[in-house]
Symmetry: C2
Subunit: 407 residues, 2 copies
C-alpha cells in the first residue's frame, strides 16, 4: 500500500505484482479523512503538513506507525499462499505456503483466516475490437508508473472512476498533448482544462484510431485502461471466495468482515472506499476481537438479517453524499463495537462531501485546499507550491522545501 | 505458443499471461529446423514458402496440425492448476483445478502428470540502481508487444540473448532513433547497422541516463529488460519442482523428461533450445510411451547415471556448434527410442550451424536466406520482399502477395 515499485506485471519471484502505485501520485483525498485515530499526522511529522501529501510522504506516515508497533516481526515476507483448505472435522485451515526466496513449500494449520489481500490489484481488462492492432502503448492503469512517457502524446483513457480522473490530470500536468477520457455510462463531468475532454464509450479501434459510440473518431498514441479491478482469491476454494463486484457493501460478509458461511474466515477492506485507513483499522479491530472472543457473533440467520439490512441501506443510496453517509454509519458502528479510538466521523463525512465539491469546482486545484484534523484539531499547512506546478513529489522536497518557506 | 496477444501482465481472468509474442515477430531460425516430421509445411500450405515465416503463418501451421489431430477436444481450457499433491499410498496425484470462467474449484486424481508449462513466460527482472527513477518506459521483453511505440526513441536493451538481438533489430527496423544493447559477459558481436551498438553492463541509472561499466553514459527513452526467464512451477510442491537455470540439459530429469525422484512426473520442453517443435514432439512421444508402458524405465540409479552422462557431455560443449551437436544427439536418441518419424538430423544440425553463420554475416539479411526441407526435400521460396523492407507481417500479405508474384 502506497509503496511504489518500478516493476509491472510480475515481481522479482515471478508472482503477480500487487502494487498499482505510480510516480507523481498525490493523495486524491484529504489526509484528514484517512488519519489513523491512534497515530496522528502530528505525532509522525511533528508539525502541520498539507492536506494532500504525495505518495512517499503518506508511505512514510504508514511506516512510522508500522515501526512504532514493531509489527513486521510478525509478518512472513516473500511467502505466497498457494492453497487453503478447511477441515470441518478439526475446524482448522490448512495453508500451503511457498517460501519464495528459498523455493520451499510447506503446509501449516491455522484456527482463523483473515484475507486482507485487497481488491485493487488484479486488473479488469475488457477487450475492444481492434485493440490488438493498436500500434502504440496499451496498458491497464495497474501498470501505469508515471506520466513522463506520455509527454507530447495523445492519450486515451477508458473508464470513468478515480484511475481515469487522476491519470488524466497527471498526464495533462506532465505534458501530454491531449487527454481523452472515454466513459461507459456517465461522464465524470469535471471542468477539464483545455486539452482534456470526455467522450462516450469506444466501440472499436482501427489501427491507431479509436471510434466512439457518438460516431466521432480520433487518433491516439497510447491507451490506458482505467477499467477497474477484480476481487480475486486464487488461493481459496470457491466456496470460501468472496464473489462480488466493487461496491460499498459486498454480500455474504457480516459487518462487512465475517464470511457468513464460515465465520472463522474474515475479509478486510473488501469494500469500495471513501474511508480507507481508519475503516481498515476499525475492521481489523473488529476481526481481532472476534478471534479473541471479545465479540461474540450472533447466529447465522441473525447475521444474514444484519447483512440484508445494510444491503438495503446501500441500495437506497442515490448520490455520492448518500454513499458517504452510508459508509460513515458503517464505520461508526464498527467503532462502537470495538475499542478503536473514537473520533468525529460526522466531521469526516462533511470533509468528504466538501472534497467532492472541491473537485467539481476545479479538478486542478482541489489538492491545494486545506482541512482540519478531527484527531488533533491541527489545521493543515498550505503546500508551498500549487499542485499543478509541483513537478517533484519527493519526500525531501515536500518536507525540506516547506521548512525553507517557514524559516 | 506463437499466439500473439495484445495483453500484458495478467490475462482476462487475472492469471499471469503466458505469451511473450510480439507484433512483427518473424521466425528467428529456419523453419526447416523445426518442421514437424509428421506434418510438413508442404502438407499444410500446399506450396513452398520462405524459410523464415512471420508469426501468424507459423501459428497457422501449428493450428493446421492441431485441427488434423482434433486434439482440442481433449484440452480443458480456461482452467488453472492451483495445487498438485502426490499420495505415495495410492500413487496418485491430486490436482486442485480452477475453472476460471465459472469461478469454480474442484479436485481430481491422476495417475501421471506431464508438466509442459514452458519456461519462457515468467520474467527474470534484475534490479539496477536508479531504475526506479527512470522516467520513460521500463518493461521486460515478455511484455514487448511491438516496436511501433519506440519509433524515434533511444532504446536500451539489457541482455545479450535472442530477445535482445531480435527486439534490437525490430526496433531498428521500425524506426527507433538508436538501439543500444548492454551485455553482462560477452557482446553478441553482430555487425550492427548504424544506429545500433553494444555496450557493457549498466551499473546504474541517474534519471534517464544509463551509466555503463566502461564509464560511458547515455540518455534513453526506454529500457527493455531482455534478461531471461525463470523456470517457475508455483502449482507444485517444492520436492516435485524442476529447479534449474536455462540450459541444454537440466539436472534431475531422465532423458530430459522423466523426473528422477518420481517417474510418474514428466517434464516437456524444459531445455534451452536449438531444436524446438520436433524436439518437443520427440519428448512427447517418449513420455506417451512411458505412460503407456511401451517404454520400460530402468531403475533410479541407472537413470541417474544416464543423466550424469548427458550432463558431462553438455559440460564439454565449448562452442555453439558443439551445443547444436549435443542437442542433435539428444533428439536423435529420443527418436530411436520411439516411433516418431525419423529424419536427417545431421542435415538439420548443419542448417543450424549455417544459420549462425548467416546471422554473423548479416543480422539484417539472414531471414532472406532459404533452406531445404529434410522432410519433403522442398526448397523454400525466396520471400517476395527482403525482411528489412517488409513492414507487414500479416498472413494475408505473406501468402497472397507471394501468389501475385508467382502468377
Amino acid at each position: 500500500l502506497w509503496n511504489y515499485t518500478w516493476r509491472t506485471g510480475l515481481g522479482p519471484y515471478g508472482e503477480p505484482l500487487h502494487g498499482s502505485m505510480y510516480r507523481y501520485l498525490w493523495s486524491n483525498g484529504p489526509k484528514e479523512c484517512l488519519e489513523f485515530a491512534d497515530y496522528s499526522f502530528n505525532e509522525h511529522f511533528g508539525k502541520p503538513i498539507s492536506s494532500y501529501p504525495p505518495r512517499p510522504v503518506l508511505f512514510d506516515y504508514i511506516q512510522g506507525r508500522v515501526k512504532k508497533s514493531d509489527v513486521r516481526q510478525h509478518i512472513r515476507f516473500n511467502t505466497a499462499v498457494r492453497w487453503v483448505s478447511y477441515q470441518p472435522e478439526t475446524r482448522k485451515f490448512t495453508m500451503i505456503l511457498d517460501d519464495l526466496a528459498n523455493n520451499r513449500t510447506y503446509a501449516e494449520e491455522f484456527d482463523d483466516l483473515v484475507v486482507a489481500s485487497a481488491h485493487f490489484s488484479t486488473p479488469n481488462m475488457p477487450h475492444f475490437k481492434g485493440i490488438e492492432n493498436f500500434p502504440g502503448t496499451v496498458m491497464h492503469a495497474h501498470d501505469f508508473r508515471g506520466a513522463d512517457q506520455f509527454k507530447g502524446k495523445d492519450v486515451l483513457l477508458i473508464g470513468s472512476s478515480y484511475s481515469a480522473e487522476d491519470i488524466g490530470i497527471q498526464s495533462y500536468k506532465h505534458g501530454a498533448r491531449s487527454v481523452t477520457i472515454s466513459y461507459r455510462s456517465r461522464p465524470l463531468g469535471m471542468k477539464w482544462p483545455e486539452g482534456m475532454k470526455e467522450l462516450p464509450l469506444v466501440t472499436h479501434f482501427r489501427n491507431d484510431v479509436a471510434h466512439f459510440s457518438d460516431g466521432s473518431k480520433e487518433r491516439f498514441d497510447a491507451v490506458i485502461m482505467c477499467t477497474g479491478y477484480q476481487h480475486k482469491f486464487p488461493f481459496l476454494p470457491d466456496n470460501l471466495r468472496l464473489k462480488t463486484k466493487n461496491c460499498l457493501y459486498p454480500d455474504g460478509i457480516y459487518k462487512g468482515i465475517v464470511f457468513n458461511e464460515l465465520p472463522q474466515l474474515m475479509y478486510l477492506g473488501m469494500q469500495d472506499q471513501y474511508f480507507t485507513f481508519n475503516m481498515f483499522d476499525a475492521q481489523a479491530w473488529f476481526a481481532r476481537d472476534v478471534m479473541m472472543g471479545k465479540i461474540e457473533l450472533p447466529g447465522k440467520e441473525e447475521r444474514e438479517d444484519d447483512i440484508k439490512k445494510w444491503l438495503d441501506l446501500n441500495a437506497a443510496c442515490q448520490t455520492h453524499d448518500d454513499e458517504i453517509d452510508f459508509q460513515t454509519n458503517y464505520v461508526k458502528e464498527l467503532i462502537t463495537l470495538t475499542d478503536y479510538p473514537g473520533f468525529d466521523l460526522d466531521a469526516v463525512a462533511a470533509m468528504f462531501k466538501q472534497w467532492l465539491r472541491d473537485k467539481e469546482e476545479d479538478i486542478l486545484t482541489y489538492r491545494d485546499k486545506t482541512y482540519t484534523s478531527v484527531i488533533t484539531g491541527t489545521e493543515s499547512e498550505k503546500h508551498h507550491t500549487p499542485w499543478i506546478k509541483e513537478m517533484d513529489d519527493s519526500y525531501e522536497r515536500y518536507l525540506y522545501h516547506q521548512n525553507k518557506v517557514r524559516a
